[in-house]
């Protein structure tokens, strides 16, 4: 049974692919919220347009996916967040960008809008202005409580954001994040852009996941246009996606250990990460592999010496990585910092639909590569590690296991890489008005969602990019509670949520 069978709707939108989208009345919208709130459905995405809001949802049982749309020409829609907290930041963002008002919302503080853009509601198409009030952090009251404010400029080489800790002595009572500092107006820049320009913008949503974003963007366009990339191109896409995952996991495993004052691991994984980037450069001409994946296929073939560079990388990893795992496993001073630190409760991970290692370390068995079986993963074999402890240590172990899986996947792909085309030509026009596509791919930190509508000339009418971090950042606030402030960097690094990916 599809999701839409149990949600009353007015009409289905035939040009939306590959999953159904339907316009609902208020009753349908409320029914969708009910099912999110009672845990039957997981929120995949929630975004706006000048006079409509959309929610993408997945049925936890049947794995079906659907999008519901509530049209709101009067500028209001029933709040999702006041019944289903994972929607909160997305709902505040919809208000910031489009000026749409969630009725009965408990929290309508700005999220991305810091009052610095020189205009309100920049994507609304109107010029209504907004009350500017000082930003109110949520209160935490009691004797002996004090606040510690950190950021937006941090001490390390990391992205900017603000953290407000309320502490009792060293123990954190409440953490509240304030983000939006890297908001670049990406979705506005995409409007009216050509597919080529928009693909490049999608690849810069979060530089560490450029492959995953370009992959999802390309799949969404291909779904909308009902075309398929050639088999060889999909294999090359997955090759790049696994290389990206490897490089990030290696860098982060070391960085987490470094935050636990174990620099040796950092030095070692840093070398392996660099070897990954150099192999990627040899194979695809760019260390981060930006702009190689395009709608229709891939822009360039793997270089002739790319295959041998990747085989050498795999051999190197097979030799060195097991020793590093042993080092992690046998260092009591490290375990002392990572075990039972920063626990994400399984119930929260499920409720928020947390993806990636954050979800999988807390018992949520979801990986878009397996759950959605998009090409070429439908034909590759790999395991999805899942643990229950939910602490920093569990997130490290999930990453360790994923490194092993990525190495095996890279070998499988290299073995299968037969001759074949690289790009399926795109039609010059859509052949009948607007068309819509949606796709999810598994980035190293979790699932990335891209939704788009193309006009008849194949320009972007609207594109929404949703990073896994939307549903992970709030869990970091819960994970740090009761821990000491000094353990925050460690917890934070074990999440490594994206700033740019959610600020956009």
């Amino acid at each position: 049974m599809g999701i839409l069978d149990s949600i009353p709707h007015v009409k289905a939108v035939p040009s939306h692919r590959p999953w159904p989208r339907a316009i609902v009345t208020e009753a349908g919208w409320q029914a969708a919220i009910d099912r999110l709130a009672d845990g039957e459905l997981t929120l995949l995405g929630f975004w706006g347009e000048p006079t409509a809001v959309h929610m993408a949802m997945r049925d936890a049982g049947s794995a079906a996916i659907a999008v519901v749309t509530y049209e709101c020409p009067a500028g209001t829609f029933p709040s999702v967040a006041n019944r289903h907290p994972p929607a909160l930041r997305l709902e505040r963002t919809i208000h910031d960008l489009f000026g749409l008002v969630p009725t009965a919302a408990d929290d309508l503080r700005p999220w991305l809008d810091h009052g610095a853009w020189g205009q309100s509601y920049p994507l609304s198409g109107g010029n209504a202005s907004r009350d500017v009030r000082p930003y109110q952090f949520l209160p935490a009251e009691g004797e002996a409580l004090h606040q510690v404010a950190v950021g937006p400029v941090h001490a390390g080489i990391i992205e900017p954001g603000h953290f407000r800790f309320t502490a009792n002595g060293e123990h954190v009572v409440r953490l509240e994040q304030r983000l939006g500092y890297t908001h670049k107006g990406t979705e506005a820049l995409m409007q009216g852009a050509s597919l080529e320009a928009a693909a490049k913008l999608a690849g810069r949503a979060s530089g560490d996941s450029t492959v995953a974003y370009a992959f999802a963007f390309a799949c969404a366009v291909e779904a909308a246009l009902q075309i398929e990339a050639p088999r060889r191109a999909t294999l090359l896409r997955a090759l790049m996606a696994e290389l990206e995952r490897l490089a990030n996991h290696l860098g982060d495993i070391g960085a987490i250990c470094n935050d636990a004052s174990f620099a040796l691991m950092h030095a070692q994984t840093g070398v392996l990460r660099e070897r990954c980037l150099r192999a990627a450069d040899t194979a695809f001409g760019h260390r981060l592999m930006m702009d190689v994946i395009v709608p229709g296929g891939v822009r360039r073939d793997i270089a002739p010496d790319g295959v041998s560079a990747l085989r050498a990388l795999v051999a190197q990893l097979r030799k060195v990585f097991p020793r590093l795992i042993e080092l992690y496993d046998n260092t009591a001073s490290l375990q002392d910092r990572t075990v039972t630190t920063g626990i994400v409760k399984a119930e929260y991970a499920r409720r928020f639909g947390a993806g990636g290692y954050v979800g999988r370390a807390s018992g949520r068995d979801f990986d878009a590569r397996r759950a959605l079986a998009y090409g070429p993963y439908d034909a590759l074999s790999f395991e999805v590690p899942v643990l229950e402890a939910g602490d920093v240590n569990a997130r490290v172990w999930i990453r360790i296991r994923e490194v092993e899986q990525s190495v095996a996947l890279i070998e499988q792909i290299l073995d299968r890489l037969g001759p074949g085309g690289l790009e399926t030509a795109l039609p010059a026009r859509s052949g009948g008005g607007a068309c819509e596509g949606m796709a999810l791919t598994e980035a190293f930190r979790g699932d990335v969602l891209v939704w788009l509508r193309l006009d008849g000339e194949l320009r972007i009418d609207r594109c929404h990019l949703r990073d896994a971090s939307w549903f992970q950042w709030p869990l970091l606030e819960t994970a740090i509670e009761g821990n000491i402030i000094a353990d925050f960097p460690l917890c934070n690094k074990s999440f490594n949520c994206s700033y740019s990916g959610v600020d956009l």
């Binding site: 853009w117 990406t186 820049l189 530089g207 040796l264 660099e274 994206s498």
Partner: protein
């Protein structure tokens, strides 16, 4: 196991240039940076990195400068935690409007003499984000810039070349 590992790790020097195609070019560049640093500075140069709205691609490559292949610390180039300890601000991103004030404040908190290096296509002129309602544009529209290093993102080798150019500039200015 631990001892074996330590042995195997300490037996080969990781700070040597990598056996990559550009290994010798990197060694040559490293030697030049080293000479310039010694000649011009006679002391270490403290670098404060500021992300003013980047996609984080530039940060990844700035991080790579500290790995065992590039190991910038051997030239006396150090990344520091506070602008108050810095000689150089390495700024990335198209300077979002939400970051402009923080960037200005960071600049003002950096003691003179100081140098600003704009890193990446975004920091040079806004890159792909130029013209957005949410971005200011290049770093030089907010604070004075001494050197631009283009690229999306610039590779660690490009960054080293840029830092070499800066060292020569520092010599000229100092």
């Amino acid at each position: 196991m631990r001892n074996t590992l330590f042995e195997s790790l300490t037996h080969r020097s990781l700070t040597e240039p990598a056996p990559a195609p550009d290994g010798s070019a990197l060694a040559e560049l490293a030697a030049k940076v080293d000479r310039a640093a010694q000649a011009r500075l006679g002391r270490s140069l403290a670098i404060r990195e500021v992300d003013a709205g980047s996609c984080n691609g530039c940060e990844l490559e700035i991080h790579a400068l500290s790995n065992a292949f590039y190991d910038v610390e051997r030239f006396g180039l150090r990344f520091v935690a506070s602008p108050r300890h810095a000689d150089v601000l390495l700024v990335t991103g198209p300077v979002t409007k939400n970051m402009r004030e923080a960037l200005e404040r960071t600049y003002n908190a950096t003691p003179d003499p100081k140098w600003v290096v704009a890193v990446g296509a975004c920091a040079v002129d806004g890159g792909m984000f130029r013209g957005s309602y949410a971005c200011v544009g290049g770093v030089s529209e907010t604070i004075p810039v001494d050197l631009h290093i283009g690229g999306c993102p610039p590779s660690p080798t490009d960054l080293l070349k840029g830092l070499l150019a800066l060292l020569e500039h520092v010599g000229g200015k100092g």
